[in-house]
Subunit: 354 residues, 2 copies
Amino acid sequence: MAHAGEEKAVVVESREWYMAAYAPDGIPTSKHLKLRTVPVSLTADSIPEGHVIIETLLVSIDPYLRSRMTGVDEGLYFPQFNINEVLSATAIARVIRSRDSNYSEGDIVIIFFCPVSEYCVVPSQAISRKIDPNAGVSFPDYLSLIGLPGFAAWVGIDAVGEAKPGSNVFISAAAGAVGMYAGQLAKLKGCRVIGSAGSDEKVKLVKEFGYDDAFNYKKETDFDAALARYFPNGIDLYLDNVGGKMFEAVLNHVNKYATIPVCGMISDYNKVWTNREGVRNLLNMVGKEVKIQGYLVGTYMDRYEDFIKEMVSYKKQGKISSKYKFYQGIEQFLESLESLFTGSCAGKVLIQVK
Amino acid sequence: MAHAGEEKAVVVESREWYMAAYAPDGIPTSKHLKLRTVPVSLTADSIPEGHVIIETLLVSIDPYLRSRMTGVDEGLYFPQFNINEVLSATAIARVIRSRDSNYSEGDIVIIFFCPVSEYCVVPSQAISRKIDPNAGVSFPDYLSLIGLPGFAAWVGIDAVGEAKPGSNVFISAAAGAVGMYAGQLAKLKGCRVIGSAGSDEKVKLVKEFGYDDAFNYKKETDFDAALARYFPNGIDLYLDNVGGKMFEAVLNHVNKYATIPVCGMISDYNKVWTNREGVRNLLNMVGKEVKIQGYLVGTYMDRYEDFIKEMVSYKKQGKISSKYKFYQGIEQFLESLESLFTGSCAGKVLIQVK
């Protein structure tokens, strides 16, 4: 028998994306990722202690997600999704029921591994932090400017790349989420910054971000010639986001003690490794004493607060900006993910769920 | 008219190697490198002030020499030899006439860029240092244990690689001049060390140097399988001396925060870069946060004295040993150089000129 104060049972239909089949090669399709509808009870009594029911507001779509869908554990970022597992991504969500005294209905939270769904139940430990909707930082900025892409850019330029005033900086995928911040940060540090991007429209955007110049790598297909022209004094720092042929071309133009921070290689995510473009001129690293450093932002969490302060300060001074591409509705997950690899969007890709 | 004290003119025939034609591809042959005989006056009056006449005793044959013979300046170590220029290499020589008060007849000196010849005149600034024949360090050890290969090994393991007790260390070209010291140094630091080499005889030698184990990469051609077997706990430090396929295989077995110091890539020296084996799995650097660091020993000269002290101390305690391959006579330069790339010799290759 229902006791006093018991809620009336409410169950909603919630859509969620799950892994139907692995995609070792190529961009995942509806064969690999599928949407299904499940019932989710929205009553607090229906969930265990220490859990919350959330509704998802905004989902961050990042290239690393692709690496969890190959079925081959290359130890890249995070383990493979299991078959039938609901996909997870970083998201902003609203708590709608809580059985944890630290969280109340209406709280807005960030969850790093949030089920890609409309409604769901998560253990409260999955919540990264509560955010203050009135702090002057927009929800998209939480997932971008001071989220994963912003931090990846900051670590690459600052902590790993040690950009200095006057450094000649090259950034590939410059109109992407990491690239747009990386270029602006390098400019703020007094560097000369050139970017590459995949369309004239993106090149225009990159220049609006304050890059000294940029080129369309789909038109200037002789990367070696392009870099010779844009870097008459060589490259001191290359923030690599693409790998492959561009990486190789850069190694022909590096200066002494150049640094190449690598946080991802978007040209490689959709290929089995043996089919990837090989880099043939690593020997160039020797004479120039180049450092190539792979990094994950998790290793730099001790500098996270410095990063937040710096970015929020730049933002308040109007010194840094963001470009967003919003997909509407959870049903657009597949299209939004695909857009990262076809290069159809500029800036940070997000899904507006609510 | 000759004044008092003037020497009787003595002119000797001296053989020297010169660059006849560049060899962009393949191992240089007698088409590219030629021996000629020139007259050299051995009287002090015949040379300018600040110069010395030397006779060469021992020439160091190092793989980097190859990179000066391609005709293509890749900025690797040192500029290309000019056509008709006498080749130069690090050598130990005896001063036989001097017009510099800092040097006397009979002094034994090291010259980094010494003409590959029997007799020649050099500016005294070309002399790196005088050596004491009674200091307890043999001439070969000056060019190896405490010369370029020893220092390259020490910098790779210690300064760049930061080997720690218990580190899992892999060294390719382990029976080569750098490899033999690198493995011994890593063992002295308490690492577990595995080497690869190109013959069963070399594998045996490598084990005699104290490596925990070694394999013949010409027999175990599935490098991936070999590394999986020899490194069940992964690789923390790979001192790369070869590049290419072995480099790629290593990137499939690296541990978190692994370091790959690169001081040369012997598999690449005889190939135009576009014909080299590409490394296709650089993306593995990201998840494991691997550092690949190109280095030249010149950058670490501030630690040169520490290195010498350490190596001489190990030598005196019998804790480090060297294997030498001596070619007899300057005429063997071409064969000695070739041996570095065919893998026909183990240890440090030298020419005994006198």
